[in-house]
Amino acid sequence: MIAVTDQPIDIQACLDAVQSERAGAVDVFIGTVRNHNNARSVVRLEYESFDSMAIRKMTELAEEAARRWPVEKIAIVHRKGVLSIGDVAVVIAVATPHRAESFEACRWVIDTLKQVVPIWKKEIYDDGEEWLEAHP
């Protein structure tokens, strides 16, 4: 299951998507919107996505994860649009036969997603706004 959605992410649907009788472990990463960054109060976030390329890159991540670890099933779902504090921004669920590889694969997928998938986050503060990572 690979998706970019402007609707709230259904975490249970992500878990259902990776259900496998061959899996002894499902590791789930849930990225949520926190109320501060670099000592500034965050009011909300706005995520923008280049959907077609984001889906392509997320699919490549799933394929690469399956080459590196014995992945039975994987779900990568990212939210876009306006998000409030506490909202779920991203869910990654990885099912593998044993727990060690599901932890490793899940961590690799979220770390690499943040580097290569064309999605952008703008933080809105009390007193301004900023696209993250944009400037040196």
Partner: protein, 80 residues
């Protein structure tokens, strides 16, 4: 050739557009396209990085552009 370039995130804010049409000579490269943007919008030079995607794939600066390519500017990503 005329190319419509898709703009996202801070590049959309800087150009105040979600698409920008540029006219380039046949055989122009990704680097030529970027140079054009830097000339027109010098503020783009202040970004940490700026790369070009061609047909949903990150492109090398030397890649030659084709009239049918789908082109996008990719400022530093910040998903997750």
């Amino acid at each position: 050739m005329e190319l419509t370039v898709h703009l996202f995130g801070i590049t959309r804010d800087i150009t105040r557009k979600s698409r920008h049409t540029v006219v380039l000579e046949e055989g122009s490269s990704v680097q030529d396209l970027l140079r054009r943007f830097y000339t027109e919008y010098p503020e783009l030079e202040g970004l940490k990085s700026l790369v070009v995607a061609v047909n949903d794939e990150y492109a090398e600066p030397t890649q030659v552009l084709n009239i049918r390519d789908e082109v996008a500017l990719i400022p530093p990503v910040s998903g997750g």
